[in-house]
């Protein structure tokens, strides 16, 4: 009898952790809106009013962003905190990256609205998936446990697989979805195996705090017990994350998926998914495993250099603008990896590295969303006009649109008085502060090579004659608004970067 009762008595001991619902509101807003959209639209007999889905998504993005600002001011007064038995943290970096993801979601919703109606595939599912992907990204950036991180990663990824294949009428879109799915699932398996080995070496999956990987590490390093297991685990973890951020040599899916996916989705992938994955990389490896630095820092170093060089060189030889932007996003990942390498040094210069990563992630998210918003417009009905020739004569046909695209491209190239310049500058100074001169020099050289690519598009827009047959590019309200917001942000941060740099530094300093 006692034998039968024993498990039940044990079960009673399992107390559920206290949940601080107030601090989870950004996640709950995204989840709730997503569910309302999916269930409500499925139950209602006729489609909702025009633009209703996008308005709700944009509203949820703004609400989640504002709530994170409120939580931010909470951390200023009461310090960073951990929730749900230390599984989720509310601290500077997580909120900063969360706000970047919400900004990307807002811009994506604005662009997608017109896109879906132009392609005649308007449906609420796309917005529901956007919201779920953003939710996964927020969880990734805020997770303090490798299992929670894995769940966030999968929530983000699975939603993105479907989004990549969302254009029902284009076989390219479905091919992109399939490729992304197979390679994404493959990389997730590596990531998960890394978690298993780290769990095997340390006995825990918690990243920071009491009885966490961070505290177990010093024991492992001291006694050398399980060290090999741990190093292999971290290596596999890095492989999984390098896939997600599209670092060379794990980048092979990027050009195909970026080219095939619906253009607004590509913009969302390049901004939100990258931001979330870098947030996760920062917290899981850089900030939680400083004792093991000598083992994983060389790997980051090699990844950064390969990504910079391969990304910018291969970008130059492309003729499809979406593929070009895919390679350019790879080289931007290289720049952020330079910041990661600097952050790996720890201490004061490491803190500057973290701040430079946060700044880069936010400015790049806005920048790339704007760029792909313009590409969505130029793609015209059918989403197929993405060759360099499609941009010929855009300067004459739509001068203002061509001018804003020029601003985005110059910012991506890192021309002064744009946000991109400040971002590149802060990453490279962080690397120089950390005495990583070689990597800083390679980053600058690859920026020069990369500039050639952006100039090619600009030359095509302004100096080459357009073909008379092409339809005039239509600029609907939502997309125009998204382009205007991103361009304004890019220029304002370019002219007055001080406030955002201070915010990023604050965020980096307020770590759980």
């Amino acid at each position: 009898m006692n034998l039968l009762l024993a498990p039940m008595q044990q079960a009673e001991k399992l107390a559920s952790p206290s949940v601080n619902w107030g601090s989870l509101t950004p996640l709950l807003v995204l989840l709730g809106t997503g569910l309302v959209l999916l269930v409500g639209a499925a139950l209602s007999p006729r489609p909702w009013k025009r633009g209703m889905y996008a308005t709700m998504t944009a509203g949820a993005a703004i609400a989640a962003g504002v709530l994170q600002f409120v939580l931010w001011s909470g951390t200023v007064h009461h310090g960073p905190k951990a929730l749900v038995k230390d599984a989720i943290v509310v601290d500077g970096p997580s909120l900063f990256i969360g706000i970047s993801i919400c900004a990307a979601l807002l811009l994506a919703a604005l662009v997608t609205d017109n896109y879906l109606r132009r392609e005649d595939i308007d449906s609420p599912e796309v917005y529901g998936l956007y919201l779920m992907a953003a939710l996964g990204g927020l969880v990734m950036a805020a997770s303090n446990d490798l299992i929670v991180l894995f769940l966030g990663l999968e929530t983000l990824s699975i939603a993105l697989y479907v989004l990549a294949a969302a254009h029902r009428k284009r076989i390219e879109s479905q091919e992109a979805g399939l490729k992304y799915f197979v390679l994404g699932g493959f990389s997730s398996a590596f990531f998960l195996y890394g978690i298993a080995l780290i769990y095997g070496a340390t006995g825990t999956t918690k990243l920071r705090g009491t009885e966490s990987i961070k505290t177990a590490l010093s024991l492992v390093v001291e006694t050398d017990k399980n060290r090999a297991l741990l190093v292999v685990g971290v290596a596999l973890l890095l492989v999984g994350l390098a896939f997600k951020v599209a670092a060379v040599p794990f980048h092979s899916w990027t050009p195909d998926v970026y080219q095939g996916a619906p253009t607004p989705v590509t913009g969302f992938m390049a901004s939100a998914a990258k931001a979330a994955a870098f947030g996760a990389l920062l917290r899981s490896v850089v900030l939680s495993m400083p004792e093991l630095r000598d083992d994983w820092r060389p790997a980051i170093w090699v990844l950064a250099i390969l990504t910079l060089v391969v990304g910018s060189i291969l970008a130059v030889v492309q003729t499809n603008v979406k593929r070009m932007l895919a390679y350019s996003s790879i080289s931007h990942a290289g720049f952020i990896l330079v910041g990661i390498e600097a952050a790996a040094h720890g201490g004061e210069s490491g803190n500057r590295g973290v701040a430079s990563i946060l700044f880069y992630v936010l400015t790049y998210a806005v920048l790339v969303s704007g760029t792909f918003a313009v590409a969505t417009l130029v793609g015209r009905s059918g989403d197929a006009a993405h060759s360099l020739d499609s941009y010929k004569g855009l300067g004459k046909q739509r001068p203002l649109l061509a001018l804003t695209l020029t601003v985005f491209l110059l910012a991506q190239a890192g021309v002064p008085l744009t946000s991109g310049f400040v971002a590149k500058f802060s990453v490279i100074t962080a690397a120089a502060d950390a005495n990583s001169y070689a990597i800083a020099i390679i980053a600058m050289l690859s920026a020069v090579i990369g500039a050639f690519l952006y100039l090619r598009i600009i030359v095509s827009m302004f100096l080459e004659e357009g073909d008379a047959e092409g339809d005039k590019v239509a600029i609907p309200f939502g997309t125009g608004l998204a382009v205007a917001i991103s361009a304004a942000f890019t220029l304002v941060v370019g002219f007055f970067p001080g406030w955002l740099l201070t915010l990023a530094k604050d965020a980096a300093g307020r770590l759980f």
Binding site: Q174, S188, L192, I195, Y199, T204, N320
Partner: protein, 105 residues
């Protein structure tokens, strides 16, 4: 009398590593998306096995509960993957990875 070796968790870890390598090779070698999904599932289940084995060595429950999360994720992944394959098969006769090559550059 056959000598029965003492089966330690290490055996399970080695088996898991072998299964993982098998699944990994399968994804790289096979061209049929369905078989590739199966290989990814094999990799995930190999990881599950190592979670359980580690959980056993540490005598705590965390590794075993993790397996449930992984199973749910794997199920969700397969649903999405099969959905994409069905969408492709509706438009063309085969979903072989070599035939689906519109995107290149």
């Amino acid at each position: 009398m056959i000598a029965v070796a003492n089966v330690t968790p290490t055996w399970y870890l080695l088996l898991a590593a072998a299964l993982f390598a098998l699944g990994c090779t399968g994804v790289l070698v096979r061209r049929n998306p369905l078989v590739m999904f199966m290989c990814i599932e094999l990799m995930l289940n190999a990881v599950n096995l190592s979670f359980v084995a580690f959980s056993r060595t540490y005598g705590d429950i965390k590794g075993q509960t993790t397996v449930f999360f992984v199973l749910v994720v794997a199920a969700a992944e397969v649903v999405v993957g099969l959905g994409i394959v069905v969408a492709i098969l509706r438009r063309r006769p085969s979903a072989n990875a070599d035939d689906i090559a519109e995107l290149k550059g």
